[in-house]
């Protein structure tokens, strides 16, 4: 049975990394966060462009996602920087994160002496938090502590033939051994509602999963018009051998392997159980991986056919190239070349190879995206425009 030496968190989760983060509760203080992070090696800034200017559903989504990213098992301690007049209040934010039992310190620029003073105080706090993180206990843990986010971005005709089916083998291995995997990118499930429905653990869950897929289809039609909605399968997809939207979507959802769907969660919400989880999130990679990290993903596997260097500040991302041309064109960004399946490597062998690398990354080996540190800011799902 596979075991790894992880980082024990008070809420019962176990991290595969031990990061200290500094996060703004509103984008107005990103610069303050930058000043702190640039002076304290080892602290990770979590920049984003939200925290205010939005009400209703988007405020709920953003508050939940930012809090839950800080609760992610790869995060050891949190320094929160607020402004003072934003919707996401620093006190409530810090209390919500502290519920997980991890150390949290916070400052408000308007009431703690202005930005320069808050940088000074923040640097001192960051040192204290790094010290606390270095004392976190290492514990032996199993795959039940792993939450794997599934992602595909910059797909090509081979993504659904080589990389994604191989990733499906990893998902099956993980779920069969008590772990959790998150399937999202609902835009890329269009046309498969009836198939996902059959794969749900209960009829009620099946209905709910089918409904989010159908809702996404309706939304796509609202935005693009009924006829152009079909263009989500593009002429390029067609030339590449995709004949129907359902075929394209099946190539995406095969990352989830063959396990039954055990739970459906909203974007950035933390699942109650384990197994294969569906998260109601968008197809856009930057927003999608932030949602997965908030839902607890402590590891992400990302397939790509065109190539994408995207990392995530607190979660290792393993990149699987669907073809050899891409692997050779971006060797410093790709971890695995699934294009070798076109040269005689079988699906099972490729799955086993990715499982082997996954084990190593869980045990601490850095993925290419981690080594490069080419992370984006946090992209958060928005359903309306800002006020």
């Amino acid at each position: 049975m596979f075991k790894f030496l992880g980082y024990e968190r008070q809420d019962g989760s176990v991290g595969i990394r031990n990061h200290v983060v500094v996060i703004p509760t509103v984008a107005c203080v990103n610069g303050v966060v930058h000043s702190i992070a640039s002076k304290v090696p080892g602290i990770i800034p979590l920049y984003h462009s939200h925290g205010c200017g939005r009400l209703g559903e988007d405020l709920k989504i953003h508050a939940r996602t930012l809090v839950n990213i800080c609760k992610n098992s790869n995060v050891a301690a949190v320094l929160a920087i607020g402004l003072g007049c934003e919707f996401i209040k620093i006190k409530e934010f810090s209390e919500a994160v502290a519920e997980s039992g991890k150390p949290v310190e916070s400052f408000n620029v308007q009431t703690d002496g202005g930005s320069v003073k808050v940088v000074e105080k923040g640097i001192e706090a960051a040192q204290r938090l790094l010290d606390a993180a270095s004392k976190v206990r290492r514990v032996e843990a199993g795959l039940d502590k792993i939450v794997l986010g599934l992602e595909c971005g910059g797909s090509d005709a081979l993504s659904g033939v080589t990389a994604n089916p191989a990733i499906g083998k990893v998902t099956d291995w993980l779920v069969q051994n008590g772990g959790t995997a998150i399937l999202t990118e609902v835009t890329e499930m269009i046309g498969t509602a009836h198939i996902l429905k059959k794969r749900a653990a209960t009829p009620e869950l099946g209905e709910a999963v089918a409904e989010i897929v159908n809702a996404q289809e309706r939304k796509t039609q609202e935005v693009l018009g009924e006829k152009l909605a079909g263009a989500i399968i593009s002429p390029g997809n067609m030339d590449g051998g995709m004949s129907t939207i359902r075929e394209k979507s099946l190539g995406c959802i095969c990352k989830a392997g063959t396990s039954p769907i055990s739970e459906l969660v909203s974007y950035g919400a933390i699942p109650k159980g384990k197994g294969l989880i569906v998260m109601d999130g968008p197809g856009y990679d930057v927003d999608s991986i932030a949602g997965e990290a908030a839902s607890g993903a402590n590891l992400i596997i990302f397939s790509t056919g065109r190539g994408n260097p995207l990392g995530f500040p607190i979660v290792p991302i393993i990149k699987i190239a669907s073809n050899t041309k891409l692997y050779d064109a971006m060797p410093d960004d790709m971890d695995v070349n699934a294009g070798r399946m076109l040269e005689g490597v079988t699906l099972q062998q490729m799955g086993d190879e990715i499982i082997e690398l996954t084990k190593q990354v869980i045990q601490g080996k850095q993925s290419k995206a981690e080594i490069n540190n080419h992370d984006s800011c946090l992209g958060l799902l928005c359903t309306t425009t800002a006020f």
Binding site: I195, S243, E247, L347
Partner: protein
Amino acid sequence: MEKIKFVHINEKDNSVISLFELKEGDFIVLPDGKEVKIFENVPPSHKIATYALKAGDPIIKYGEEIGIAACDIPQGGWIHAHNISESQAFEQSVSESLKEGSSK
């Protein structure tokens, strides 16, 4: 080693995916040992019927139905937008949209 010509994703599939352009008259050997003669030229990463399909038969890939055969498709035949009912309806709607757009 002989070059791999195709991928058969799921054992239930009645289609396989070409990995490079296959020519009429080429042969592929399925995992169960059955030999299939390629009926017509098939572009890379496109689908090939593993047995003869009747109009109305489901086309299976990933173990699931991806569409319905719009006409009879011979064993070793190329399966794509030209012989899948859903794709034909879709292409027709795109072409109508384009006509509408350009006439305004």
